[in-house]
């Protein structure tokens, strides 16, 4: 078990966005978090990556309590993430964007830059090599000198993943990686994720494209109104009564 949450809860004033969620992610698997809009999936991601502090509950990573750590500290421990909107620096090249991903593994300070120390050269070379490696892995090497603004939506998504890979993560949280991408490209993206798992990286993703999720995920958690309503293999979840009710409407409230 690489990551686990216990009674994780986040309240915004009156609204409970995430409600007592107990959840575990196994190492080397693909886990998907699904649920209708407003179910609390993104809030759940933000709690795990540290952008929001939980109201109660805790998060354990490799047996260590990380509930109070800052986002950058979690990234340094090996928790990577991407955003729904990629947020890349559009006016810089793909390589420049991805190179900065290795910054957390460097010890560079202002003095290194001012005096062009040996460490600066060494660590800049290491960052460039790491970026090359991540770009080769994601199939973006031919595009590495292009400006991000010249890329297609799918290439931008892959660049964002390459950036996350450059941080040398153990687990990566992908927030709707296939949003706004055509079916054929979605297929390629799924392949990339399988490749990442083969390399030993654990993946957790939020996704609305059911077909992709059902084919890809080892385990699925379903959130609705902040509560975990189901958890299991794609087949189990597919036939879960409450899940069907949550997705097809009616049910509880009607």
């Amino acid at each position: 078990m690489i990551l686990r949450t216990c009674g994780l809860t986040k309240k915004f004033d009156g609204l409970t966005a995430v409600d007592q969620v107990d959840f575990a992610i196994e190492k080397g698997t693909i886990t998907a978090v699904i649920g209708p809009n407003g179910a609390g999936k993104s809030t759940f991601f933000n709690l795990i990556s540290g952008f929001l502090a939980p109201t109660s509950g805790e998060i354990c990573y490799n047996g260590r309590d990380i509930t109070r750590l800052k986002p950058y500290e979690r990234a340094r421990l090996g928790i990577g993430r991407t955003f729904q909107t990629t947020r890349l620096f559009e006016q810089a090249t793909v390589l420049e964007n991805v190179m900065i991903g290795h910054r957390l593994r460097t010890k560079l300070g202002l003095w290194d830059a001012l005096f062009k120390t040996r460490r600066l050269k060494r660590e800049e070379t290491a960052s460039r090599e790491k970026a090359h490696e991540a770009l080769a892995f994601t199939g973006l090497l031919p595009k590495s000198d292009r400006l991000v603004s010249e890329l297609s939506q799918e290439e931008k998504k892959r660049t964002a993943i390459a950036l996350a890979l450059a941080t040398e993560p153990e687990i990566v949280f992908l927030d709707e990686p296939a949003a706004g991408i055509n079916p054929e490209e979605t297929e390629k993206l799924a392949e990339l994720m399988k490749k990442m798992v083969k390399k030993g990286i654990t993946i957790c993703l939020i996704e609305h494209k059911m077909q992709m999720v059902m084919n890809l995920a080892d385990k699925i958690m379903v959130l609705n109104h902040g509560k975990k309503i189901a958890e299991g293999t794609p087949d189990e979840v597919k036939h879960h009564e409450e899940v069907i009710r949550a997705y097809l409407g009616g049910g509880i409230s009607a």
């Binding site: 460097t106 300070g109 830059a113 600066l120």
Partner: protein, 334 residues
């Protein structure tokens, strides 16, 4: 590579021009104006680091300029400290002030940060204005000595002072170039681009912002200390908000977030201001529309406009060369 070489050649030509300039003109007035422009440019380079590269619009910059100027001025006038020691002390004092203010102000973002620092700048102004026992208030601080001689160099004449200021400006530009073109500089740009993404890839955003802010205030303080001993009189008005906006104008006209921007903008506007002196306050009728037009058509100022024009032209040549090659290959295969 050839572009880099060109860039280097251009900087050398510019530097050479700056070095021989005092021998080209007998007019002390031009020398004075250019020396002043050098001082402002140093401060604007500081502003550029935090506002241009790191994305935090600081409006306290005239305040930090004044902290540097008054620290150096007071130490020299009231305790008779040597200029060089006073300069070092002024830099240290501004750095500490920048650190403390940055620690608080950098918790705010975007326009809140701008408003917060605007207030900080105004508070610095009020302190200088009201604390007469220390700063002499509105009377100002008079009789600040020239820079003390350093070994064989003395700085009594306008020409020698010009070279001293040029030295500091070149030093600052060289420092900025090193920072901006390194992974340390791209860390700042990453923060400007998206603080959340930067945080998510493991960058200690608060620490990086603080370093950038302190460096930017140190440059403002350095410029202030040089100003004090160059003009030899300082009053509270050097910390006034309008000075911050002058610096911001230089930066925006020259090109915010570019390496050449602060230099280009400062020299251009300072020179323009001087040559339009006869229009008095009606100068603003020229500056206003100029600024608006520039922001609409060249949001990254003159330096940014030129560099994207060069970029496009290079792309076109590459494209044309590619086309030619395709045509040739086709011709050969026939």
């Amino acid at each position: 590579m050839s572009a880099l070489l060109n860039g280097r050649i251009w900087s050398l030509i510019l530097l050479l021009a700056a070095v021989i300039f005092p021998f080209l003109t007998e007019n002390q007035y031009y020398l004075h104006i250019l020396s002043m422009a050098f001082i402002w440019a140093i401060a604007v380079y500081g502003l550029n680091l935090i506002s241009g590269y790191t994305g935090y619009l600081s409006l306290a910059h005239a305040g930090f300029f004044a902290v540097g100027a008054y620290s150096a001025g007071l130490l020299m006038v009231k305790t008779g400290l040597n200029f060089w020691l006073a300069l070092a002390a002024a830099i240290l004092i501004t750095a500490v002030a920048g650190f403390l203010i940055g620690l608080v102000s950098l918790r705010t973002k975007e326009h809140f940060f701008a408003i917060y620092t605007l207030c900080v700048g105004y508070i610095i102004y009020l302190i200088i204005y009201k604390w007469e026992e220390l700063t002499e208030g509105v009377r100002g601080l008079i009789g600040i000595p020239h820079p003390a001689p350093l070994g064989p160099f003395s700085f009594e004449t306008p020409r020698s002072q010009y070279y001293l200021l040029l030295f500091f400006l070149v030093l600052v530009i060289w420092m900025m170039k090193r920072i901006v073109h390194s992974l340390v500089g791209s860390t700042y740009t990453a923060i400007r681009n998206s603080e959340e993404l930067a945080e998510a890839i493991g960058i200690n955003v608060m620490k990086q912002k603080l370093v950038s802010f302190v460096v930017s205030t140190v440059l403002a303080g350095l410029a202030g200390a040089l100003y004090a001993s160059f003009v030899r009189f300082i009053g509270p008005d050097i910390s006034y908000v309008s000075i911050t906006f002058d610096m911001l104008t230089y930066l925006i006209v020259g090109g915010i977030g570019t390496l050449a921007g602060p230099l280009v903008g400062t020299i251009l506007i300072v020179a323009l201001t001087q040559s339009l002196q006869f229009l008095e306050d009606f100068r603003m009728l020229i500056f206003g529309p100029l600024l608006i037009a520039l922001i609409i058509f060249y949001p990254r100022g003159i330096a940014g406009g030129v560099s994207s024009w060069l970029h496009n032209r290079r792309k076109e040549t590459v494209f044309a060369a590619g086309m030619e090659r395709t045509v040739n290959v086709k011709g050969e295969s026939q």
